[in-house]
Symmetry: C2
Subunit: 212 residues, 2 copies
Amino acid sequence: MKTFSMNQLERYPAYLKYFKELRDQGVEYVSSPRIGAKLGYSEEQVRKDLQCVSVSAGRPKRGRSVEQLIEDLETFLGYRDVSGAIVIGVGHLGGALMNFPSFNEMGLEILAGFDVSPSLIGQKIGGKEVYDYKRLHDLMPKLNAHIAIICVPASIAQSVVDSAVCCGAKGIWNFAPTHLDVPEGVVVETVDLASSLAVLSHRMNEANAKKR
Amino acid sequence: MKTFSMNQLERYPAYLKYFKELRDQGVEYVSSPRIGAKLGYSEEQVRKDLQCVSVSAGRPKRGRSVEQLIEDLETFLGYRDVSGAIVIGVGHLGGALMNFPSFNEMGLEILAGFDVSPSLIGQKIGGKEVYDYKRLHDLMPKLNAHIAIICVPASIAQSVVDSAVCCGAKGIWNFAPTHLDVPEGVVVETVDLASSLAVLSHRMNEANAKKR
């Protein structure tokens, strides 16, 4: 299997989004220079990125078929095979994720939430039930959920992840600001707001220093 | 000014978090191998990363002072100079960010929210007022906010960012899934959930393919 760099993988949803905009505008073909100019990537990079995921070559002058690119990218990104997910920890952030309207288009279906708080258990958020966390072992396999979205405090994240893996999780989407250990065959992807904020602050300082 | 790679910058909050845990446990000194083993980085990388931000050298055998490392990292990350921020778009995600308890420790103080929805205007979320978006030009300079946290739909994000920049924003923390153009001297850092999810799906597919 071809190995992709994280940066490259991260670019594909932006391509897909742009191609869908083009389709909505009735555009049928698009060239690499046009794509690059729109998204801020070099023409060379666009060509390389698309070669990796799309079998159909572009034609000189006309460019690549927008419809074909959308199909290839959706297949590559797994948006056409929907994975079932559960949210563990339905606080402000977990609740916001359960309410997100567009995960389904990205191949992720949130099936349920789990929490320990009596005020949340039994509620519906984004149309999905919040269950007692005690029932994870019973319900997660029944729901056929293979992704656990972790929105609990950092201090308990590892033990929650251990349970989720035990119940069949193959992917952990981690919003807790902590490093997690998982067995081989299970993957973790962390969304780290603290890291993102650190990058923002540092780049603001740089921009400020340049000005002076 | 030294240039840091994004990956390197993103590691610093993890270091800081670990050093604070050590301090809470009463640990005074820590060695690079121990740090690397805990966080999953090589000893060499830990040494390089810390050299860039900390003036104090470690001592053979004993290691580096935990207290000094915390001070150096907090200074480097700007956690000791708090920046004022506003949230534009107080939907599920924007509301969750306004409720986040720990941004203050990371040098970010959310001062207010802005929205167009009459049901939100005048409410308090996380103790901060939500104002009518129409009042941005009037209030953002008065609040002395230099960071705008963008939680509006992608379709209107660019025009909201243009307004925020016009009102003095120097940093844009973007949660809208779209590319944003800003003038020189203003920086954008995007938290892209679609990209993160694409990385997770792809790595799950890879892990699955390896198993077969």
